[in-house]
């Protein structure tokens, strides 16, 4: 069912321009020197071939930083409840890196499993992801070290592959087909030779990532060494600011609070992080994760351990934002390998 075309840069921009008709298109945009995902009004706002990745992942377009879950009015001694309208406009997330597209699938695993989240489900249903395979690795990238790929297809409905000056456009899902019903003017069918260039691209970008891989069996080691003293040292510099969780494409923890006055109110959801002390603080005063060591360990292990099945992917997709933006210079891959090394050398029970 896959159909692939070859497009010039101009043809791609023309297609992007066409997408603006009937869709809200969210694409990388440069704002004050920072690359961010923003809804665009015309295709020339989009940075189609950026030299780095966006500072934030596109997750907020499915899981907003803050939103009302329901609203209420106080009326005549009782309360009237009101569901917020579900978003109905179709949105296209354009130019999403492979790592970020996988991040969205990690979010799906939370919000669409078991009891589904109504607002997330509605946005997901109305969202088509046009990913862009990476032409080069950024300095912070480590997707290949954690089992992902710079040309990964996971989470993509349409994938754009940079081929020098040109692009290959691959339709990967039915949703993608809805977006690319027909070839545009001047598009040519991609050849088998073009297809081979995907593997070449993967090899070349992977070659730029100088990180040693995180092995799958390390999950077990990390779990066994849960109480190992190394965590004191590894978390020493963590400031608890949680920027790592906020910029992470797969972090999905949230808080829920009521905002209200005498007449009306709403239950609000906003992003939260396991690295904050109040996250697990009981009303009684008890806190299972009282120290930053325990909180930092939770974040690392939730990404790299506690997987249901061995073949399940790591919840870290390797975008590297937490590494490049950590004010204390913490590096999650180095942390994992240092923890595993300490646990193996000193034994899982080495005292704190």
């Amino acid at each position: 069912m896959e159909s692939s075309w070859k497009l010039t840069d101009t043809q791609l921009r023309k297609w992007l321009s066409g997408l603006l008709d009937g869709n809200s298109v969210v694409a990388p945009v440069e704002e004050d020197g920072v690359l961010l995902f923003r809804p665009i009004a015309s295709e020339d706002q989009a940075v189609v071939k950026p030299s780095g990745k966006t500072r934030w992942s596109p997750k907020e377009f499915l899981f907003p930083r803050s939103e009302a879950l329901y609203r209420y009015n106080f009326k005549g001694g009782t309360v009237q409840l009101e569901d917020p309208p579900v978003p109905e406009e179709h949105q296209v997330l354009f130019g999403v890196r492979s790592c970020d597209a996988s991040g969205l699938v990690r979010l799906d695993e939370i919000f669409l499993s078991g009891t589904k989240d109504r607002l997330y489900a509605a946005r997901r249903e109305n969202t088509t992801v046009v990913s862009a395979a990476c032409a080069a690795a950024d300095v912070e990238c480590f997707c290949t070290a954690v089992g992902y790929s710079p040309v990964g297809e996971e989470g993509s409905d349409v994938q754009l592959v940079p081929l020098g000056e040109d692009w290959m456009l691959r339709v990967l899902t039915d949703k993608g087909r809805d977006l690319v019903s027909d070839a545009g003017d001047g598009w040519t069918a991609a050849t088998a030779k073009d297809g081979k260039r995907i593997a070449e691209l993967e090899k070349s970008v992977a070659g730029q990532i100088e990180r040693s891989p995180v092995n799958r069996e390390w999950s077990q080691v990390l779990e066994e060494g849960f109480e190992h003293g190394a965590w004191d040292r590894l978390a020493q510099h963590c400031l608890g600011c949680s920027v790592c969780a906020y910029v992470c494409p797969s972090c999905s923890c949230f808080d829920m609070n009521h905002e209200a006055n005498a007449w009306c109110g709403e239950q609000c959801r906003s992003w939260d992080a396991c690295t904050f002390p109040l996250f697990t603080h009981h009303a009684s005063g008890h806190n299972p994760r009282e120290t930053k060591q325990e909180r930092y360990r939770q974040r690392v292990l939730h990404k790299f351990a506690f997987r249901e099945e061995d073949e399940d992917p790591f919840r870290c997709v390797g975008c590297g934002r937490c590494v490049s933006l950590c004010p204390a210079g913490l590096d999650i891959v180095n942390t994992v390998s240092a923890a595993v090394e300490a646990i193996r050398e000193e034994g899982a029970d080495a005292a704190r």
Partner: protein
């Protein structure tokens, strides 16, 4: 049908009215709640002991409480609507606001959530319920379920501990439990918490439990209380010869969403609101010490 229309809002609560309440202690209250909308009452097809709900004070927020009354079972010849009872301590913003509410006022309820006590697996067995302080609230539904059909179970001991006599909950109903054949209620307060005329035990729960000298053979222990109490109770249980699969407890982590999404109640891979809150001591031993 588009997915969005098919997915109901998991966060919008049902409205329930405060029908009645009882002040158990100066800071603990038990509420009896009834659904405002009879249709919603009908849709709330009972629950199992051990499950919990999210209770909303509109304008203040939500709190998690155990469903504390005997499970309501839809029954053709029973016209009454289901009632929800919960017992809470006034400790924070939401519970203080809830405590300030009066009969007839409306709050929100969503649930039931979580797994439950395997009460039916206990048939024919001797049971010990051990509740420390407000931990009794999480046990009450199971205790009442067992007492209501006592003939299906063996001997039942209810061991209730509190910091002081004034902190003891369910004192009004305990004499009634004691009257049931084969049910013994033992009450204890921490040393220093006794008052003149106190006729119960004085001592920490684990010590009083050991002093009862109950034979562990074939007995199930259902324990709920603060983490420090459970820590010492498990030491006692091990010492007396109970195996970890004979002991059932509940994990009481901070919860917000109730449906396994918000991420705060994880103990390793275990989401307390979705996979718990009921766990055996054996299961607890498999989890990281993160509760």
């Amino acid at each position: 049908m588009p997915l969005a229309e098919a997915v109901p809002n998991p966060y919008q609560p049902s409205l329930v009215r405060i029908h009645d309440f009882l002040d158990e202690t100066p800071d603990v209250r038990t509420l009896r709640l009834q659904f405002v909308d009879d249709n919603e009452a009908g849709g709330f097809a009972g629950w199992e002991p051990g499950q919990f709900g999210q209770f909303t004070v509109f304008g203040a927020g939500e709190s998690v409480f155990a469903l504390a009354n005997a499970p309501w079972r839809p029954n053709g010849d029973r016209a009454s609507a289901p009632t929800i009872e919960c017992t809470f301590r006034m400790v924070g913003k939401v519970t203080s606001a809830l405590r300030a509410m009066s009969k007839g006022q409306v709050i929100g309820f969503r649930g039931p959530y979580g797994n439950h006590f395997p009460v039916d697996d206990w048939k024919g067995k001797d049971l010990v319920f051990i509740g420390g302080g407000i931990g009794m609230a999480a046990l009450r539904s199971a205790m009442l379920d067992v007492i209501n059909r006592k003939s299906e179970f063996g001997d039942v001991v209810i061991l209730n501990g509190a910091r002081s006599v004034g902190d003891m909950v369910y004192t009004d109903e305990m004499p009634g439990w004691q009257e049931v054949d084969g049910v013994e209620v033992v009450r204890t307060v921490d040393p220093g918490g006794e008052t003149e005329g106190w006729d119960g035990e004085v001592g920490l729960l684990p010590n009083v439990f050991e002093g009862l000298g109950l034979d562990p053979d074939g007995r199930i222990v259902i324990a709920c209380g603060p983490p420090i109490m459970l820590h010492y109770l498990f030491l006692s249980l091990g010492k007396v010869g109970y195996s970890p699969d004979q002991v059932v407890t509940t994990l009481e982590n901070k919860m917000k969403c109730g449906i396994g999404h918000c991420g705060r109640c994880y103990v390793g891979p275990f989401s307390v609101c979705r996979d718990g809150p009921v766990v055996t001591w054996a299961e607890l031993n498999e989890l990281p010490k993160d509760y």
